[in-house]
């Protein structure tokens, strides 16, 4: 199993200050097709860890490997999808533009953008998230829940191998959350992709993830509620 890891962290320290790392000696391997959730108290470094894997914050120590590239080398274009906590949408642009930016990263040459394939994937993802009636609406005019669906559509249009998501299910009503969760899980299963999600709601994290890790005391531990289940998973 260790051969097909898609994310690997070896003896990694994360944070912004060498003298005060948020987490030290992090060791983690995530495999293709897995959904992994990270939970933990606020301010402990969950978002920083996600940003470190995304190549946005350099690790203080250790090796971070994503899709075969060792950070700071960026993984191949379009292979990494990222949904930040505040979604990172272009507020003054339309839903179509935002989702198209995802499709562009995944399916177009950087010199010849806007192919029919980009258009098809953009429309497909918008329809999948049920926001086709808002296609020309600027993001700033959408509700928080609708914006979350746009951010998810952007990542699905990209069709990445790894999705890093920071609390992307927050602010969604029960029905929408289930449909978004279903669409993302479906994508992961069909494409043998990987989802690493930061989730403060442990109940939701357990429903979504195959593996739940708890960040606490400067370490990353498996979340153990049922020792037998965890034993089976670890084996």
């Amino acid at each position: 199993m260790s051969d097909n890891h898609i994310i690997r962290m070896k003896d990694v320290s994360i944070g912004f200050n060498n003298n005060k790392p948020l987490m030290s000696s992090l060791n983690l391997e995530i495999y293709s097709g897995e959904i992994v959730a990270i939970a933990g108290p606020s301010g402990i470094g969950k978002t920083t860890m996600l940003k470190t894997i995304a190549g946005l914050v350099p690790p203080l120590n250790g090796i971070v490997e994503v899709c075969g590239s060792i950070i700071p080398k960026h993984p191949p274009r379009g292979s990494l999808g990222y949904i930040p906590q505040r979604l990172g949408l272009v507020r003054h642009a339309s839903v179509y533009h935002n989702v198209m930016m995802g499709a562009l990263a995944g399916h177009a040459s950087r010199w010849f953008p806007y192919s029919p394939e980009v258009r098809r994937l953009t429309l497909e993802s918008i329809t999948l998230m049920g926001i086709e009636d808002k296609i020309r609406t600027p993001i700033r005019k959408l509700s928080g829940g609708q914006q979350r669906r746009v951010a998810t559509a952007r990542t699905l249009a990209q069709r990445p191998s790894v999705i890093l998501a920071d609390e992307f299910l927050g602010e969604l009503d029960e029905e929408t959350m289930n449909s978004v969760m279903f669409a993302v899980k479906n994508y992961i299963q069909q494409n043998n992709a990987t989802l690493l999600v930061v989730e403060h709601d442990i109940g939701r994290a357990k429903t979504l993830a195959d593996r739940l890790l708890l960040m606490d005391d400067g370490r990353l531990n498996p979340f153990i509620t049922d020792p037998i289940v965890m034993e089976v998973k670890q084996s």
């Binding site: 940003k51 995304a54 190549g55 946005l56 960026h74 993984p75 191949p76 274009r77 379009g78 292979s79 990494l80 999808g81 990222y82 949904i83 930040p84 906590q85 505040r86 979604l87 990172g88 949408l89 272009v90 507020r91 003054h92 642009a93 533009h97 930016m101 995802g102 562009l104 990263a105 995944g106 950087r110 953008p113 700033r140 990209q158 990445p160 890093l164």
Partner: protein, 312 residues
């Protein structure tokens, strides 16, 4: 638990006095410093008392009434327009239209040139190795006022609107470029981070994220720049770079101040109109464009009168 006596120590009292009066003290110090600096430069404050009387004499003898013959057609070349449009052959109209044309062309050229430079100058898009040279170019082009650039270009390409366009374009690049890169640096970090993580190229990030995210600010600044260029365009004519300033300078040389005041009043009206148009146009591109705004005449009328005039 130790009981409080209620009395403050001398040090605590000083701290309390400082925090409650610090703004008065700082303002007082600033005012004192300003007066001390001004006092060093002015040898005789008594000269101020003559200023008012001199102004009245100047207005009565030279400025007033304005000579509106500047709106009459020139004797040569012959005016061949309809009788109601004779004013379009006047020096005021010709100069004004030329100034507006210079302002328009230089704003468009300046915007086209400054945008790519400001993208390079933005620290959130580039390393200091790219952004500092770009900032140096922008700083260099705005370090001289457009009037000095106009003198420079008059020497290079001769008298006329071309040197005005070149001078204003160079100044626009520097001034607008600074506004633009500050607007770009002010955009939210998250869309940029998402774009970086997705693997977009620098061009894709600039056109797909930076441009739409800062577009409102950029358009608003460009409209402001057009208005600014018109106001400055009236000055550069003084050194022979075209526009209404040429005529102002001409009549200044002949001490015909009544004609100069007529030109200045025309410029004032046009600047006011341009300012109103600019406010209106910019309001379309600001964040909350869909909220109701007061009408343009609301700027001039008190609230009570506006309520009375509102359609019921």
């Amino acid at each position: 638990m130790k009981e409080s006596t209620g009395a403050l120590s001398f040090k605590d009292s000083l701290i309390v006095v400082w925090f409650s009066t610090r703004w008065f003290i700082l303002f007082g110090f600033l005012f004192w410093l300003t007066m001390a600096v001004a006092n060093g430069m002015v040898d005789d404050w008594g000269r101020l008392t003559n200023g008012g009387a001199n102004l009245i004499i100047f207005i009565e003898e030279s400025l007033w009434p304005p000579d509106w013959s500047v709106l009459e057609p020139q004797s040569y070349p012959p005016c061949v327009v309809a009788p109601g449009l004779q004013f379009t052959c006047s020096t005021a109209w010709i100069g004004l239209v030329e100034t507006i044309k210079i302002a328009f062309v230089s704003t468009v050229f300046g915007t086209i040139i400054s945008f790519p430079i400001s993208l390079l100058a933005a620290r959130n898009l580039n390393s200091i190795w790219l952004s500092y040279p770009a900032r140096f170019i922008l700083a260099a082009s705005r370090s001289l006022p457009s009037l000095i650039w106009a003198i420079f270009f008059v020497i290079l390409v001769g008298l006329g609107p071309l040197s005005g366009i070149l001078a204003m374009t160079v100044y626009t690049v520097g001034y607008l470029g600074k506004l633009q890169y500050e607007a770009i640096e002010g955009i939210s970090r998250e869309p940029l981070e998402a774009s970086l993580a997705m693997g977009h190229s620098w061009f894709e990030r600039s056109l797909g994220v930076v441009l739409p995210e800062s577009a409102n600010g950029l358009i608003s600044q460009t409209i402001f720049m057009l208005e600014y260029n018109f106001r400055h365009g009236t000055v550069i004519g003084i050194v022979g770079a075209g526009g209404i300033g040429y005529y102002i300078n001409l009549y200044l040389k002949f001490l015909q101040y009544d004609k100069v005041i007529a030109y200045l009043m025309i410029i004032f009206v046009v600047v006011l109109l341009l300012d109103l148009l600019s406010i209106k146009a910019r309001s379309v591109f600001t964040e909350d464009a869909n909220i109701s705004r007061p009408p343009w005449w609301g700027i001039l009328l008190p609230d009570a009168m506006m309520d009375f005039l509102k359609p019921k």
